[in-house]
Symmetry: C2
Subunit: 446 residues, 2 copies
Amino acid sequence: MNDSFRKIGGSICAPRGFRCAAVFCDIKKLGTGRGSEKGTKRDLALIVSDWPAAVAGMFTANQVSAAPVKVSMKVAARNYARAIVVNSGNANACTGKQGLRDAKAMARTTASYLNNASGKLDRFKRSSLSAAKIVAHHVLVCSTGRIGVPMPMKNVTRGIRACAPLLAGSATAARNAAEAILTTDSRRKEIAIEFEIDNKTVRIGGICKGAGMIQPGMATMLAFIMTDAAIESTALKHALKIAVGQSFNRITVDGDMSTNDSVIVLANGLAKNREIKLDRLKRSSFQRGLNHVCLELAKMIVRDGEGTSRVVTVRVRGAKNQQQAASAARAVANSSLVRTSWCGSDPNWGRILCALGYSNATVDERFVDIGYRKPGSRDILFAFRRGRPTNVVLKRLATVTSAPEFDLEIDLHLGRGEFVIYAADLTEEYVALNKGDVNDPTTLGG
Amino acid sequence: MNDSFRKIGGSICAPRGFRCAAVFCDIKKLGTGRGSEKGTKRDLALIVSDWPAAVAGMFTANQVSAAPVKVSMKVAARNYARAIVVNSGNANACTGKQGLRDAKAMARTTASYLNNASGKLDRFKRSSLSAAKIVAHHVLVCSTGRIGVPMPMKNVTRGIRACAPLLAGSATAARNAAEAILTTDSRRKEIAIEFEIDNKTVRIGGICKGAGMIQPGMATMLAFIMTDAAIESTALKHALKIAVGQSFNRITVDGDMSTNDSVIVLANGLAKNREIKLDRLKRSSFQRGLNHVCLELAKMIVRDGEGTSRVVTVRVRGAKNQQQAASAARAVANSSLVRTSWCGSDPNWGRILCALGYSNATVDERFVDIGYRKPGSRDILFAFRRGRPTNVVLKRLATVTSAPEFDLEIDLHLGRGEFVIYAADLTEEYVALNKGDVNDPTTLGG
């Protein structure tokens, strides 16, 4: 790849024409406005494009999808969108008809306050924000947090109202938004790159939150990616599908799929490159740029997984086909026993072979290779080769497997199917974080 | 059911005409004969039927099956067998051609020493053991323990030789065999029942070992069931399939499927009931007796699962069909997040709904019921009903979920599919037990 993506600051505010803001409005209602166990960490954010932006979204495949997912799916199916309202602290999931009403109300309220703000504030008068009235069906809604609890709509409305006048295109504003979407994540996840298309500088910036539980709803992944590239809506939707398939859909922390997972891209065209259409997408460096941003964000999620002490890149080659490679990689990456062994730096190829054996992939142990590699290194240390344990010394294997990240290289030698998945170990901390305490109702679900 | 199964002692020696013995022969070769970290716990057992016995076996579906499984599958496909040789401490898995040679040698050696013993020992002269020569293909072989390590055949042979003259039909002998097959199990698992068929008293006795890891191979389940019922081999094979489908295939500790799982039944006919044929099986109380024994043994395995602090009976009703019910139940029972919540006594219906949503079963959250029940009680405490959280007080739910065992009752209200699975929670102890220590090679695999 000859693409030169330059890393820049500012994350979602790096591309031209995006503004955001975030506030604390006590979505968890733990402290009647005086903050939660995380103090007054921001819990609601708005992200706005000055211009109508091509929109694409990918959402959880879970049949039990949350109300905001239902609302956002409809918006993302359109050609253009303008804004995203997102909260942490409440997932608005399993909340029935009221939940759907609340999610729709969040979109409506956001549109309304954004229009008000654009009238009142000088800086918006000069932008296009005042040019076209924002309507509810141009607003995407995302929620993450506790499940089965009605949205505290009073607080939410207050938050949106407080947020609208604060919208800014600064790195600080982007950082605040990156903070607002976090739940049990231990750190913000931000990235921005720039590169050239048609001699125009195009920027892509993104933030995300990972598989964190919030007292305890369920692991939710949210990612928001803004770009000033000019790209047709159809091409953008296609590009996102490709990028997510190679990134967010390739990570696993605990094998659970959330009700709220959402990845959203807005592309407002302010880079003024020749509009990218579907037929030019493959050759365009935009696709590679988006792939890069998604993969980097996805890896940040695994690294910051709950209780994660070790990240393992599981690569399966030589499966009969790609689907079988994926099945084999997922079986390994989701095996409790394999993940637990990683936690102890244990190069336990036996458990790996066992997981391969019960996967949906065809496996013949006589041909299997299992090896370990330092990330970036060329050398694979094989523990098992062509159906036999090698005579590699355990200590040498352990120098690789005791690092915070390593690659697991599996070759089934049965075909050309290949798949990579980014996985996390299973630790005592994961259990401790998620088990709740029956004597402290705020730690329990339902 | 009007069957009256009387619980009796003696487990596998309760049925007439079965003898067993067990010794310590240092299969792990940790201490050059001076014992392992478990002291000199017995690690090799022989189980023998005085008469040729109808045989049936069910084995792991893992494509990577261990050498002894390959050998025993062939024996179990025959009409008759005579003996089982089983060891703990080494799984003889992923050991290639040598492993297969070793497993076959174990069968041969067993046959040879049994024939010798029957010649030498008075009590066997009187039994049929001397009547028909035992040959290798009448001997089933089972191994559980560490993976990828060659079998210490010298020790194994010494063990078999030492075992053969000790064969006895006593409760003590059965207890010793039940001990010999254990790995990290914390206790022996034994059962025996008797009941009437054609006015003849029939006995079924069984022992098993559970999902325990051995420094660290992988979870392996072994079960040996002896009965003096007279039953045709075809009928026995069918009966076992039914019984296993409702018991051992309905338990899950960590969702990993071992390379060595084996369930074996021998039926020697000494109860002298009219031989049960396939067409009479359904009406026969033998099937129900076998079901009962298998289910009780399976439940013992879950209760003694690694780090298990809580056993949950997950019952899904109202799925579109039985397959979907099974898929839904398994998704719940294998979800890391659900299992972790159980560990904290947390009635977290949100995670359960989430797992249902990503299962292969059709789920419409608007119709879903999720409730909790004390085992044996009639009352279900619903936490979620028809798509809405109920207003049951958390404290009341917690009185059920904080007991060592409870039932989780899920109704999808979409059809008549029903499935029950017996599951365990995920605890910090599970991780601690399985993660190994890279500084202590004896705790590592491979």
